[in-house]
Symmetry: C2
Subunit: 258 residues, 2 copies
């Protein structure tokens, strides 16, 4: 039975429904409301805001107990959010929370992140949305602090909402004691040396994606990378309007009237 | 032989190397420089900025003639750009151009678009980058006007560059006579009624992604959707910094010092 007085929270991730990070997130936020989990049936790292255009999607009910229902989905993190809101949930959720991702989504990684793709999708629907990541890729990383911070931030967002068109990219450093939370900007950065060249069993050339992250503003204390490197959790407000409003005037020479 | 005095242009798309849109784009921009095409080996619509994390990538040389070399790649549009810049091109390209996409990438579609994922990736590398789309999904759509506009804009961008961290989302309306170019904002909008419920051959429930686009600001003449609906090509400058700088102050209540 649904208790409509409780907040409804849609949970997803990009590491798949069986990842430790999402289990720890669910445990941490269960007291906050009715939880519906719709998460990919396996890893979907690096899926960004990808949607499944050419294949049908399938949803499987995995379990239901008091105020917690879990589904897996054959699609991407964004597909999970779309299916949840369009087809599965009986009402619009009060919060979409994605994670806890195994690995950092700070700086430019926000663009590739399936975790953040799901949060951005929640935001497109006008729902307060959060992506949460721990800067440790290990399957058995220690999510204790990250899940506690996820709960604190989820509580605040449930209570106060978020500005329209803005979601949160939360990253927690993998340190012994997190020093607190800083609201940050997305650090300028890029990846370099991105491929490991190898050969398959037939001697044919293959490329594995890898790389080294280069922080282009390591001394900027306002950035997420600085916060994480200095033991703070970073919260970057991310907007779904990608328009570079301040350069529209500069580009008016591109205008053309036939 | 490479003529290093000519601009080097990396071309990709998300409809695959055999799509009509990319062929028309290549024909249109060939006079502008040395062209290297690295495009997916099949359709990758809706791939956003997805990267291939768990599978090896393969690249196949398809052909080489005067100032035109064509490769296909097993990965996503972003993988194509990364492979091109990291592994295939002998120098940094002067322009990355992606398209011409079969279908609109205006408004919120910029977020799901593999075409724009590739342009955003070029921009992350600090290269002037453009995504071009025609508002017609048909495989045999008429790309005559779209490719002419793509060339005009590519020429201007090659000549004048783009602001750092900004790429262009260009959409061309499928009309008899395009009226010109307008520099626009990304229209606020969302998709509704997104799934077609059906059954597979065993009677199991499946969901196909579909939907209706809802323009949330139909009267705003500054938007890409307005431009396209009124016969203009739209050019939206898109930034890779997703930070909502103007709300950082408002969110400072989330800051926490342990």
């Amino acid at each position: 039975m649904t208790d409509s007085r409780k907040p409804l929270i849609l949970v997803t991730n990009d590491d798949g429904v069986n990842a430790l990070g999402i289990k720890m997130l669910i445990d941490a936020i269960r007291p906050l409301g009715e939880i519906v989990v719709i998460a990919p049936d396996g890893p979907r790292s690096g899926m960004s805001s990808a949607i499944t255009a050419f294949q049908p999607l399938r949803v499987h009910a995995l379990g239901e107990e008091c105020d917690l229902t879990v589904y897996s989905c054959t699609g991407t993190p964004v597909d999970c959010v779309k299916l949840g809101i369009n087809e599965i949930l009986e009402r619009k959720p009060d919060l979409v929370i994605s994670g806890i991702n195994h690995g950092s989504n700070a700086s430019i990684c926000v663009i590739y992140s399936g975790t953040m793709g799901a949060a951005i999708e929640g935001c497109i629907f006008g729902i307060p949305s959060i992506g949460v990541s721990l800067t440790n890729h290990a399957a058995l990383a220690d999510f204790t602090q990250a899940s506690a911070y996820a709960r604190v931030i989820a509580e605040k967002v449930l209570c106060e909402g978020l500005p329209q068109g803005v979601c949160l990219n939360v990253n927690i450093p993998d340190v012994q004691k997190v020093k607190g939370i800083r609201v940050c900007t997305q650090a300028k950065g890029r990846w370099a040396k991105e491929f490991y060249r190898s050969q398959d069993q037939m001697g044919r050339e293959i490329f594995w994606l890898t790389g080294e992250f280069e922080n282009e503003e390591p001394d900027n204390q306002h950035t997420d990378e600085w916060a994480l490197a200095n033991g703070y959790a970073s919260v970057v407000p991310c907007q779904i309007d990608m328009t570079a409003h301040d350069v529209i005037q500069k580009l008016n020479h591109l205008s053309l009237q036939d």
